[in-house]
Amino acid sequence: MKRIAQIYLIIVTAVICLWQLPWIYNFFTVEAYTTPFILYSSVVDDFVVRKTENKKIVCSGLDGTTYTINQYDSILPEYQARQLAAYDCLPDTLFGRAVSLKMLTEEAISMRIKPEMVFGPQIPLYQLMESQSGRVDFEMPDDVFRITDSKIEFVIKDSNKVNEPKSQMFTDALSDAGFVFPAVEIAGNPTSKKRYDNGYLITDSRNCLFNLKMEKGNPNVQKIELDQQIVPCHIFVTEFTGMHSLGMFFDQNGKLYVITMPEKEIKMVDIPPVDLHADEVFIMGNIFTWTIRIKNDDTVSWYAVDAQNFAQIKSYSQPVGYEYVKGLDFEENGWIVPGWR
């Protein structure tokens, strides 16, 4: 018995040392590192870096060309439109296309996808908002829904009871659209802080993709046509002000696709496959181009893609500028899972 107790003690002591010693070392040695803010400029056809050095903003190109802050505004007119408009310097055409401040600000997009958003602990209950309430401000619904093996169930928040008629109506609508229960992926943005509602994007048991919305209390289900070999794995509904996309998804190989609006066409974004377990994706875009940053523990990469056909224009990578000693860690994407990180 004493021998077993000693083995237990040795294992536990080793685990605690592997966990705490690297942490203590990193705590005292790792230096602050900020990922540089980089955007693609269509004007100079290159990435432009903006960072703060000695409390001063320094802007430069990748080739070392330095820019003043005013030059920075001028070579990124799509992003700095408000600043240019303030000095009455906003051009009325950009790359042969008539633009306005309203247009440029409304077409700007920003989206961040972190591993914990995809793989973190989530409660499998969802809130379907009314898409056509006729009101400018959204209100949160008075029920939540869950998708079981055979149906969709709406549970009323006040009474904690299933709303049977509504559940039946939505189950029938999904089945009529060809949805085969149960669901595999369910994605939506249940928040009242948005301009419009794109509902939910849901994949069924055959990996077919559906768009579910509630319009004036009634279900509106539309199947989105996909190539057979594309399996949407991680789906995100987008509700950008410009209304040019319904959502995005990563397929089984980590390739990123955009579902365009209003035609609901699937377009592949020309960037390398993303491993959402490790990669953090940050997208900043405008009417002409998107800059996509993919960051993990080792590398940060930036890709400029065309905002219409998502073809890659340019890319740039650099190693992450800090090093740390790996050790036993228990936190991963919001879960407690032991791992060597």
Binding site: Y8, Q20, P121, L125, D142, V144, R146, K157, N160, W335
Partner: protein, 223 residues
């Protein structure tokens, strides 16, 4: 013999465990009533939305209580034995020291299991009345590591209390703090779900450690 040890432990700790049990049930009831009151005052919809949008279980008031109860149980059971130097008698009972101390620990474990189950039942009754199963299970899952920490703290405290060598006690106390930290790394509801498979043996495996201290004690080690 074992029944006699159980009876001795009962005489020694009944008031402590009665108060501890009442405290646990009281705090669990408070947590349950708190959920209900938040629902009544802000509306059930607001309570549901809070759970769906925030990483909070709203029952963190009971987080450290099982741990404190576990430490207290070990101290109340074993500190008097060490102080009055009567643990030696227990170690020389005809049934063997592992069996006799094991019976004492089994008594404490049994009471802690009972308290924990009552707490979970209280939380379940309050929460399941106003919240759907998905949220209730997430709340209860959040509390499981806290209660496992209670068991682990109980065994680790016995390990420290019955250790006769002070230098070893210091090492054991430091190690125990880090081991217990493993159970309370995060409050994110349900975050411990993939780790319960190793947390349960970690918590109950700590019951082996007092054997090392008792062995030192039997050999008469001291500093």
């Amino acid at each position: 013999m074992i029944n006699a040890i159980f009876y001795k432990e009962w005489i020694k700790t009944k008031w402590y465990y009665a108060v501890a049990c009442l405290l646990l049930i009281g705090f669990a009831s408070y947590a349950g009533i708190y959920l209900k009151r938040v629902g009544d005052l802000s509306g059930m919809a607001a309570l549901w939305e809070y759970y769906l949008s925030k990483d909070d279980s709203l029952i963190t008031i009971i987080k450290y209580l099982p741990l404190i109860v576990g430490i207290g149980g070990a101290v109340f059971q074993f500190a008097p034995e060490m102080h009055r130097k009567c643990l030696k008698l227990t170690l020389h009972l005809p049934c063997g020291y592992i069996k006799s101390v094991g019976a004492m620990m089994l008594f404490g474990t049994g009471i802690l299991v009972m308290c924990s189950l009552i707490c979970f039942a209280v939380l379940y009754v309050f929460a399941s009345h106003i919240l759907p199963n998905e949220i209730v299970s997430r709340i209860l899952l959040t509390a499981i590591p806290w209660f496992l920490a209670g068991f682990c703290a109980y065994y680790l405290t016995i390990w420290v209390v019955v250790e006769p060598v002070w230098k070893k006690r210091v090492f054991q106390t430091i190690l125990s703090v880090f081991v217990l930290k493993l159970f309370i790394i995060t409050d994110t509801p349900g975050a411990y779900l993939p780790s319960l498979w190793w947390l349960v043996p970690l918590a109950f495996g700590a019951a082996l450690l007092p054997v090392i201290s008792l062995s030192d004690f039997k050999e008469g080690l001291q500093d």
